[in-house]
Amino acid sequence: MSLQGSGTRPQDFTGATAAPEENGAAQLPADLQDERLIAGHGISGAVGAFTARLRSGDLGSVPVVVGLVIIWAVFQVANSSFLSSRNLVNLTLQTTSVGVIALGIVLVLLLGEIDLSVGSVSGVAAAVVGVTFVNQGWPIVASLVAAIALGVLIGLFYGLLYTRFGVPSFVITLAGLLGFLGLQLLVLGKDGTINLPYDSALVGFATRSFLSPAMAYALVALVVVAYALSRWQGRTARAAAGLSAAPTSVIAIKAAGLAIVLLIPVTVLNGDRGVSSMFLLFLALVVVTDLAVRRTRWGRSVFAVGGNVEAARRAGINVRMIYLTVFAACTTFAAVGGILAAARLVAVGQASGGTDVNLNAIASAVIGGTSLFGGRGSAYSALLGALVITSISNGLALLSLDSNVRYIVTAGVLLIAVTIDSLSRRSRQAHGRA
């Protein structure tokens, strides 16, 4: 044992310039040196890692993609116009509002909380737009700002109740479900239904605004190039830091895969009216939310709070702030979703945001693969889940089946999704990936 003087600054644990330690394994990247690590190389390695992850129960979005393919196949067999360009364009339009609302649900589920009031909040936001824009004659921008601001305020109020008084989010938002339904009826007044002017910019955006084919293809090219570039940049940075980096071939294959995944639907949609601006807005929100959740300090904190609140608090994360922002983001998405739904239907009524909006949004998030248990999920589950939910109602409508069948089928799919979530959680625990 040796004693050192009190003046020494003993350790240098995080020296930024220190060279990688020289040892026998120095040729290997720093993260692949442990001999116990099972790591493949190149394309076969990437494929192997993916299947190993699936086997351990880390299913990600695989079940929902498989489910979507099955649902589409079944409906296509039952009615050959299901996968027609015309119907798929309708599908994108129908998906948008429930998808935007589901995006907020994904965020609260990441914290392990729930918001049952998104339907009512979407309805009250739509009512505010209807009353201020149509009845009061406000400029459309002012109406939209007012409605979205109301959404933000509602979420902050929930967050305040949750963080200050510790009321469970289930109860807070259950009260919100009733309360804001009441507010919606109050705002709408006696008439009950307000028709939005068909030639207004809002309605135009939601119903008649589509990208030109050239624009859509240019956008696909842009996205693929941006993806490949960012992957390439990440690879270079990792290699420079002495870490393992994906080989160029894997990056190329992934970029090509993305190009195919984007080109096929764009081509099909271009067969009819094209890619809807409103759907594009939804996709943009998904991408932005995904980046915020995965690549920012805020998103990391959201996952930490969802995983272990006490650990997050002790790590110095402002847990209250995280709850406040997530509840506010959820109700804001709900408000935006409600406005888009009203714009697409060209009317606001007492039924706006009612009946199954809530459950469809929550079911979308869960079906998409976001765990009900917190700390696990992705913004893309809102997109995939909403596509599943909307495909079911769209397909059953094509078959002229009533809403009774729709409810039953949706319930079955939701049950399957939650069961998969629970089973894969158990499997993850068994494989040490919980």
Binding site: M1, S2, L3, Q4, G5, S6, T8, P10, Q11, F13, T14, G15, A16, A18, P20, E21, A30, D31, D34, R36, L37, G234, A237, R238, A241, G242, L243, L291, R295, T296, R297, R300, S301, F303, A304, G306, G307, N308, E310, A311, A312, R314, A315, G316, I317, G375, R376, R428, Q429, H431, G432, R433, A434
Partner: protein
């Protein structure tokens, strides 16, 4: 936290000195006149029976509790620690028994939780992963991958991650609360190796443990608490286990512990 600039003259190498620390909870005197000093590059084991005040003392040093009486000298300056954050800023890191790790996040995310590195506003994953490896290498920690969720690590590896995380704040004193509790033989050895490596790095380590074998294996000195009071400080190389156990249980009327404490005071630090 108040820091006066005048350095006090304390023993060379002493990083943290407690003088007359007392703490009451209602009618219970949890700590009474505790004296303790820790030097850089030394492992001080803090032992005592259940209810002896070990946890209270650790929480007082860590800023979870504030002492009713007494003073703390850190790095030659008298300090008051009002909160855990202040203790961390001073350079006192604590790894509590529950480790406080997020099972759903990977090792890198856990290491940098709450102090993520950023580049252009986004998380700098590459730099965090690189320096995670560097840190773990320096500790000779056996973690196969830093990109697997902490849930998949063994108990010893989780302990390693928690200790490594406490080091990112560049502390001078690291307090480990029962780091080997509930660990297997090999994992315990791994953690004890890690403790020795902290000592080699010149850190002052306060190790709380019930396991006398662990204490005798890594500690340089052992401070015994009994019923909230000091009950002797032993230099491990000159003490038998049963003397320490006697001091913990009070079985020999404290004669042994008084003698050992006197001897250790007369002879100064072992090294």
């Amino acid at each position: 936290m108040t820091v006066t600039p005048t350095p006090l003259d304390v023993g060379a190498g002493t990083v943290l000195t407690l003088q007359g620390i007392s703490k009451r909870f209602g009618a219970v005197q949890a700590l009474k006149n505790i004296e303790l000093d820790v030097r850089a590059g030394e492992v001080l084991a803090l032992v005592g029976d259940n209810g002896a005040g070990k946890s209270t003392l650790v929480k007082t040093i860590a800023g979870v509790y504030t002492a009713d009486d007494g003073s703390m000298v850190f790095d030659g300056r008298p300090v008051r620690v009002g909160s855990p954050a202040e203790a961390q800023q001073l350079g006192i890191a604590t790894v509590f028994q529950d480790l406080a790790l997020c099972d759903n996040l990977d090792v890198v995310a856990n290491l940098y939780l709450g102090r993520e590195l950023r580049k252009n506003g986004a998380l700098d994953e590459v730099e965090m992963e690189r320096s995670s490896w560097e840190l773990l290498r320096q500790l000779s920690a056996k973690i196969p991958s830093v990109r697997i969720p902490v849930a998949s690590l063994s108990g010893g590896q989780r302990q390693t991650v928690a200790i490594a995380r406490s080091l990112l704040g560049r502390p001078k004193v690291v307090m480990l609360d029962e780091p080997t509790a509930a660990l297997g033989v090999a994992q315990t050895a791994e953690v004890l190796n890690l403790v020795e490596r902290l000592r080699e790095r010149g850190l002052a380590v306060i190790l709380i443990s019930h396991n006398m074998a662990d204490v005798m294996a890594v500690a340089d000195r052992v401070a015994v608490l009994r019923l909230g009071r000091n009950n002797g400080v032993f230099v491990v190389s000159e003490t038998r286990t049963q003397d320490i156990i006697a001091a913990i249980t009070g079985a020999t009327d404290n004669a042994v512990s008084e003698r050992a404490a006197r001897r250790s005071r007369e002879e100064g630090p072992a090294s």
